[in-house]
Amino acid sequence: MVPLGYYLILAAGLFAVGALGAILRRNALIVLMSLELMLNAANLTLVAFARAHHDMRGHVLAFLVIAVAAAEAAVGLAIVVGVFRTRKTVAVDEINEMKF
């Protein structure tokens, strides 16, 4: 079997890539994909710990995360479409009207 630590390192790496994408990309669609990556990293830790502790509850939590991610993706994409309709752009650093 593969030791737990390797899975955790992989999850941390995926999370870091997702976070960097979310921070640094302009395209709102790619930011949303980065969020999906971060959620998947979290899922990976859940599944890895479930395997290490022989506990199925980790799987259930990961499953619920997938469901929530689907909801999030649906709403997020709808917002992107809505914003694009009025602003003709999906660049997140140009959509900054909600401020002082």
Binding site: P3, G13, I66, A70
Partner: protein, 220 residues
């Protein structure tokens, strides 16, 4: 290319933290050198490299469709890792829901919007983002080096034969997690309605849109 390297810095930075210093005694096992003879370990390495590499590929693409393709590939690799972890059902879900449903949704939206960016990187307020990267670095260091305690140590040996099967999964889901399950179903319903409301936008009512009295309702 230099940017890609810059992205890798925090990842590389976690490596010496793992390797250096005194190794913690009762935390997370990284296995013995004999691991290298284990074929499952080689499979893991391939899948891990694939998922991480495809993730990096995803966030560096200028073309959004390419990014989606990369992300789908990354999710396939993750599904393979889930199989290694005896999470067969979740592996199937990962492919069906993520690679199948969610990513198709992304593709549809990309087709609707369909335009390539001139400048893919959001480099405004770069200092803030450098701070964010440093925070990420610190977080990785703390999580991997300091949080693990003996309480997290893995149980040895193979899991029970039913582990990860649909039956065992349903057992836990419908006995212990029935309420969250139902709550999530409600959340999904709301998300569907919300997505329709937001994405449809306001349309000026036109005269011909108004259904004639008695006429059957037009389905959308």
């Amino acid at each position: 290319m230099s940017r890609i390297l810059a992205l890798l810095v925090p990842l590389l930075a976690t490596a010496p933290a793992l390797a250096g210093g005194q190794p913690p005694r009762a935390t997370i096992e990284f296995g013995a050198p004999s691991m290298w003879g284990n074929p499952a370990f080689w499979v893991f390495l391939v899948l891990a490299a694939g998922s991480l590499g495809l993730a990096i590929f995803t966030i560096t693409r200028r073309n959004a469709v390419m990014a989606v393709v990369g992300l789908v590939g990354s999710f396939f690799c993750l599904a393979g890792i889930y199989v290694l972890l005896y999470a067969h059902f979740l592996a199937v879900m990962q492919i069906l829901v993520y690679a199948g449903a969610i990513m198709v949704l992304f593709v549809f939206v990309i087709m609707v919007l369909g335009r390539e960016e001139s400048e893919p990187w959001a480099l405004r307020s770069l200092f803030t983002k450098v701070v964010g990267v440093c925070a990420l670095f610190l977080l990785g260091y703390v999580v991997l080096r300091l949080v693990p305690t003996p309480a997290l140590a893995a149980k040895g040996g193979a899991p029970p034969t039913s582990f990860g099967t649909v039956g065992a999964f349903g057992d836990v889901l419908f006995k212990e997690y029935l309420f969250p399950f139902e709550a999530v179903s409600l959340l999904l319903l709301l998300a569907v309605i919300g997505a329709i409301v937001i994405a449809r936008g306001k349309r000026a009512p036109r005269a011909e849109d108004a259904p004639a009295p008695g006429a059957p309702k037009e389905s959308r």
